[in-house]
Symmetry: C2
Subunit: 233 residues, 2 copies
DNA sequence: TCTGAAATCAAACCCGGTACGAGTTTTTGT
DNA sequence: ACAAAAACTCGTACCGGGTTTGATTTCAGA
């Protein structure tokens, strides 16, 4: 029962986003003017801004949609937040690719990386995820602890994304990038779960790099250090 | 041998920053116009922008000056990066306060917190520190590992700062805020060093909050989990 | 004291974003 | 089927941050 009105709106919205991305891909984010976009999409500038609040939002549609908080909140009983997230990211890295056009993806990534304004706006979006994650974690841990955990987790995941996309933008094949991502996921969650101390080295590092396993999937949970953090003196 | 010219420049710069902050404190960041600032400081708008590249930079002078990378790079031999940073932050929290005007500090913090634009610009500054930290860590670990560690560390420290400042802005006394910061520092570095797993809990959390020790300083290094990350299968 | 470089200035301009009032289209109630 | 109300769009003028331009002042160094 989609009313005519809503159909038209959706259509216009699509046209705006598509037009914008076409221009961004051609000349880069900063070099394109919103008036230009509006003109090319045959709408008034004011109308454009009734669809998208900012120029950045034209380019960042769908960025930061992945919902960390939701994954953690909806995890099966008996799993730790970290496990839930690890599973999710493993699936993304090694699971089947659901129809992703590499060309498009790479072009989007390039545009975003090339524009400080856009990168920064993207970061701001991801920052909100972190806040929401902190909220759901706060239900189980102290507020401060939750904030810290959320910060660490979110920072790690953002780093994973950045690394992945940077490789893509640098020209790596999608499958290669995904393979390396799979390794990095294990590395990241290892660090998150067990901390940096196993890596710690006073003067010189113990090993240059922790040699990621061949097949990440085979890496199963190791016995956890049970020691509590800061036991009462 | 400070030439007259340079003295005047420095003077003007100071006058601009001071004027700006006076106005920001009175009416908030967004409500003050750069033209206004320029006028009040008796300079042309163009001149103002020859001193400060953006409006934000007028407000964020000195933010993000603390140099994580430097602390890590210049740490005494035999200490891990984490230890060096922990020591540094402990000192800040419990060491002597070197002439800080709480009034001024709080007003600055309030202004920054109240302006999304400003907060976000501050984040961007702190993000640069993180990049530099990653660079120095990359010398000892793999690039990806370094990026992940830097991300975790930097995210944690930013969270500490935010928490500290938020308490101040909420009206807490400086000494109280510092005491709680001291606790949080231990918590944060504990998490960083030993990971989140000791906290991990499947269905329900083991404890609500890990009860920070009374006197953080007495908390000395615990035996480290020696298990390496992802040993070859 | 003269000269050239550096700094300042006012004013016009660009761009992202908002405000406004008037016109047009869809919806809704009857 | 029709009129009133709501929703959407439009052009234009405006605001604020930031840049450009070109003329004018101010300092430094010989």
């Amino acid at each position: 029962m989609a009313g005519l009105r809503e159909r038209k709106k959706e259509q216009t919205r699509q046209r705006l986003a598509a037009t914008a991305w076409r221009l961004f891909a051609e000349r880069g984010f900063e070099a394109v003017t919103v008036s230009e976009i509006a003109e090319a999409a045959e709408v008034a500038k004011a109308t454009l801004f009734s669809y998208f609040p900012t120029k950045e939002s034209l380019a960042l549609q769908g960025v930061g949609d992945e919902d960390l908080a939701g994954i953690v909140a909806g995890r099966p009983a008996g799993t730790s937040p970290l496990d839930a997230l690890r599973t999710h990211y493993r699936d993304f890295a090694v699971g089947p690719m659901t129809g992703i056009d590499t060309e498009v993806l790479v072009s989007r990534v390039r545009v975003i990386f090339d524009s400080p304004a856009l990168s920064s706006a993207a970061h701001a979006l991801l920052y909100q995820q972190r806040q929401k994650l902190a909220e759901v974690l706060a239900a189980e841990h102290g507020e401060t602890a939750a904030a810290l955990m959320a910060a660490q987790i979110s920072a790690s995941l953002v780093t994973l994304q950045e690394t992945f996309f940077r490789r893509l933008a640098a020209g790596a094949a999608l499958e290669d990038a995904r393979r390396r991502l799979a390794e990095d996921v294990e590395l990241a969650f290892g660090l998150l779960a067990h901390g940096l101390d196993p890596f710690a080295s006073g003067g010189r590092p113990a090993r240059d790099e922790p040699a990621p396993a061949e097949d990440p999937i085979t890496t199963e949970d190791r016995p956890r250090p049970t020691g509590r953090l800061r036991p009462a003196a």
